[in-house]
Subunit: 499 residues, 3 copies
């Protein structure tokens, strides 16, 4: 049965369907009117790719219209624009409504059975209704995650050491350049790829041969994806297709796609924290879909979204935190990246940072802040205040002050451990035991990388989110101290003299 | 109260129960008729081991009869046989129905209060109603997982290095043979044990002393268990006793019993994939029990079972994938095992493979395929096509073609990294730095094992299922490259000269 | 809106609220009478910290009174005291009821708007209604977890090696003393901190400046927390504030806050066990809140609480296990701690143990038991019997006997592997390759620590709870054997001669 329809000529099929009246709005699971174009999409795709059609039917997009959405109060509204183009107002937000926006901007726009379709839906397309979210997102580091990696020479040196295939000749190891494929599957899977369009190609499908754009580095839902319309980001990183659910975005499993040990162990630590304990144990008793999100009545403990993004109100309707899609808006210090903790960068574009040594890093190897590019004390206080208001939905001032004091001290101690490791590497460089030309490719250098990229990060995250295992034995202080001893022992083994 | 019944003579007890009419069908939670034998089982076991009785009462086996099951349409049917023995048709599939099949074949059959009972229920017993599934399963690698390990001399060398207790004399380490216990708790826990019967033994129970078969390597639910009736496998590996739920088998937590990092990180990668993100976030909104499984309406994203086993239909009833219990039926390439990726073996029995060096492996240490034993291009294309149909329930042809192309290249790159590591080991062997007599017991050899058994596997799995952390820092490219540097540094430390 | 109330003088505000009659019992989500004091707490805190008020409203404490609770049958009762003080009987167990107990004992008691409030609620406070649980808990190791670490000189040496910041001079590494902050975030996060009171401090809050006690090492919910009233423990470790749910305590996510790999991999192994498979797949079908907990009807497979704590009955009401809050009550052997497995200690206070070398350890470095402090054969049999009754809710005697036999042998084999590693360290000490003055700070010593603290523990836990990955490649036998080879190779590298 899989192939029964293959021999039918597609245009004929569509004609037949239309003559049968099947292109009239027919949406068994919603009473909302569909546009003719969306109905045409569905008429074919419910047979071809039924999964995405059915998934969309479960979405809010299928169950309401922008016109209805605009009637809600400001707090309850899930649509940030005050106005929506007239043509979109009375119909469900369907296939065509999203995949047809700004066709002139889209290098991936193509003719699909008479309709002009974009393959990729970009944040700029979503901004037709969700402009505030798109703008906030564009300001943050996530939107710039591709360039922040691709355009940073220091990071690229590390990517090359890690991702390049090696050839062995005798006992010599030669590293090749990483392929686009491997970069796509590793760093850029989360950071986002640059989606290119290389003309058209012919695909043989169950409905016959069709011409479609040949995209490179696709599919990808990385947070900083460079889209064929030039916009940055992928809303589907957190609101996966085609239900685009706010509930999914609020669950910790979503952030857990990328924020994982060993380098960014946010999910791993959340899971073992008291907050994670409560949510994982009572997941079924939270109201994941409520807007606004009411502290206590809708959720008993925070998830990632609660602290970093969501609009939070008290049961009486007092705003505790404004919604933001700039996920640094409530963060004053940055606890990972090269090499020490430091104030958040001013711009989401971190490739423009320059430290005192001229490198595109927020600190020097010794820990000195690239202060020009980092937020100052006032902005730090402002952001810390925003986060504090979230915490104080449940916790007293005494608790939050003590908590953040502890976090500051732990970050400083982790930085001290990184400095100790850095000093051992510098000693190796000075004594010609290692070559600083590439600071990431030799054994002692890679142990140093583990110190800051894995273990110091884990200790800081464990403090920020209260996950004691990641502060202790699981990539925490045990590893920080043990790896330092490993570095020292390696120096000793190389016959380096102690001063 | 625990012991209040102990002093009663058991036969007397059963007599009393019978005289009270308690052996008449009495199943508070099902209106289905029970056989007299099953009722007798329940009358005692609801007091002795209530957990399994209550669990069974939640099962479909307790809620229907084969006669009713056979009335369903072919798609809806959960029973593959066209006919079921007359005696079994009108009653629930209860304790006795399963534990009494083919008594002559069962070395574990024994007299239990007048009933002939098999301790172990085997796939051949389940085949009384589920023959197609049993036959498919018997053809696959899972059914042969015991022999594939036990009868492979190369693997046994590795098992001995890992699992044997060591004694230290000065600084010399002597490895002993692994005990059956430790083999049972490690490799064979998942691969399956060979369940033996060593006569009878007397057990003191809450109902008095009873005689039961003395089984060895039991209990075990490994996928390739060798049963006392000679059959291979354990349906309970995925359909755990005594609810035998299809819903459980479809959840990723089931495969996560064995398919785990570092060697087979399927669960770990699924969890961080987009598919896992959707399912873990919306677990409560899927229809886990539906047969057939409808794409989109029943499930919004795939689990392990979706891609590798289940009967999938579109909402309109078109079959996208036939049900299979040969879990390689939709797999064309094998991404783990010794040492490189390779086409799937022709037979589920892989101990019969011979590479060009005469070893029972699918490739040589250098990567040459043991082509005679592996499926050819046509069969590979057929299986890839089967998987493609699953993917295309949601994804376009352009996406699936690009996806599998990426996977092929990544597998090749991971193989190149393994070859680099292999060449360093060969250099060590050549320079007498290590002894190839046992290729797994010295430091540089074990680093090499980590390269292919942990890291190259992770990279390939991460590509197959889109889990970027396992492609990157968590056992991925970072470890592939870092461990290669560790091997090189170890050679340097041993004073090996560079050519 | 966040700051709109800030300028109001607090006393005035409360006066206004009172004059409006808002201090009259007003509990929208419960018909239970609140005390005037609790109502006053809620009147302010529903605005200030709404999360904890709403969370409490979901609790049983908010939905019933001690008077009602005492009417239940012994099995169904969740309150162990036969009598409760008269004043507490007719009202909900609210803020004031818990935070006002035994004020004279509480160094953290302070005047809060005219009410005497304890910041910390201790097990001794909960004992007003739950005395049996508090007493059982006080007897166990958890209650003593702070002192068991803090007062043990051997453990403190290890804590110092791990948790102290290091300074590097040339290639010399100097370890500093760990700070209270880092100890709080690592070991003592789970073990519990000693909560001190250093006078009062002024906090600026949304309601104005208030005076509150200045607590040190707070907040903390470690199991052995030393409270400001001198009592030991934190009920909130497992029954988190402010719902204090028995359902949460019964879920494995709760124990997973602390019982984690690599040192205590209980959660990790449970998750991959058959028991974990069943529970994680059918979490929604268990009755998490039922008291007593009925085997089979309420739960189909055990969680941590089932085996180690809960009152379990058969569906017919036969007791299979008595409730205990001494989590060693069903444990005969201890499978972690320094350095070998051993019988459980007699006292929850393990700092009083002395081995044959005079160290505060349950065994010598060579494995000899500190028998005086450990339970004898009779008590071991008694506890094993208690656990066996739990298992036999589902499993036969033959299975449980075989199972525990396997566990005993595996523990012995893991101990043998630790002895092998210990002998290599002793050899290093003897040959002056390492210095035994501090047995934890040098490379070979730290590899030895990993052998017993991570890998031998994992193998024993994997046996106890049937998680084969942790017996095999994930911190199991692979690592036990590989790390031993790493130790041997390190000795060889240092030029140690083989005898």
């Amino acid at each position: 049965m899989v192939t029964t329809m293959r021999s039918l000529h597609l245009a004929l099929l569509i004609g037949v369907l239309m003559s049968l009246g099947l292109s009239q709005p027919k949406n068994q699971k919603t009473s909302v009117t569909l546009s003719d174009e969306t109905q045409a999409c569905i008429d074919c795709h419910r047979g071809v790719t039924p999964g995405i059609v059915e998934d969309w039917l479960t979405s809010r997009h299928a169950q309401t219209t922008p016109a209805e959405a605009l009637k809600k109060t400001a707090f309850e509204r899930r649509i940030s624009n005050e106005a929506v183009p007239d043509g979109l107002r009375p119909v469900a937000v369907g296939c065509y409504e999203c995949h047809s926006q700004h066709p002139a901007d889209h290098r991936d726009n193509f003719d699909h059975f008479g309709y002009r379709i974009n393959v990729v839906v970009s944040p700029n397309d979503c901004a037709t209704c969700h402009r505030t979210e798109a703008d906030q997102y564009a300001d943050g580091k996530k939107a710039h995650a591709y360039g922040n990696l691709e355009d940073n020479a220091v990071y690229q040196t590390l990517v090359r050491v890690i991702d390049g295939v090696k050839r062995v000749d005798g006992m010599k190891v030669h590293g090749l350049d990483p392929t686009p494929t491997t970069k796509h599957e590793t760093c850029y899977a989360c950071h986002g790829t640059k989606v290119g369009v290389e003309g058209m190609m012919t695909m043989t499908t169950s409905l016959g041969d069709i011409e479609v754009p040949k995209l490179t580095n696709w599919p990808n839902q990385g947070v900083g994806r460079v889209n064929p319309d030039g916009s940055l980001g992928a809303c589907t990183a957190c609101h996966p297709r085609h239900s685009f659910s706010i509930a999914v975005a609020r669950k910790p499993f979503t952030c857990a796609q990328c924020h994982l040990e060993p380098d960014v162990p946010a999910w791993d630590i959340y899971r073992e924290s008291k907050h994670g304990n409560i949510i994982l144990s009572q997941e079924g008793q939270q109201h994941w879909d409520a807007v606004p999100w009411k502290i206590g009545t809708d959720l008993r403990a925070p998830t990632c979204a609660t602290c970093h993004s969501s609009l939070l109100v008290s049961p009486d309707g007092d705003v505790r935190a404004e919604r933001t899609h700039n996920f640094s808006a409530r963060l004053w210090t940055r606890i990972f990246g090269l090499i020490y903790s430091h104030p958040q960068p001013k711009s989401g574009n971190t490739a423009i940072l320059r430290n005192a040594d001229g490198l595109p890093l927020p600190t020097t190897f010794g820990g000195q802040h690239a202060a020009d590019g980092l937020i100052g004390a006032e902005e730090q206080a402002h952001r810390k205040d925003a986060m504090t208001h979230v915490c104080q939905g449940c916790h007293s001032s005494a608790v939050t002050e003590g908590y953040f004091g502890k976090f500051a001290q732990t970050s400083a101690e982790a930085d001290s451990m990184v400095l100790a490791a850095t000093n051992l590497v510098r000693y190796a460089w000075e004594k010609k035991i290692a070559d600083p030309a590439n600071p990431f490719d030799e054994m002692i250098e890679q142990l140093w990388v583990k110190e800051w990229l894995f273990y110091a990060n884990s200790v800081r995250y464990a403090s920020a989110m209260s996950g004691p295992d990641y502060a202790s034995f699981e990539n925490g202080w045990w590893e920080l101290s043990h790896t330092l001893e490993e570095m020292r022992e390696l120096l000793e083994r190389h016959g380096a003299e102690e001063k």
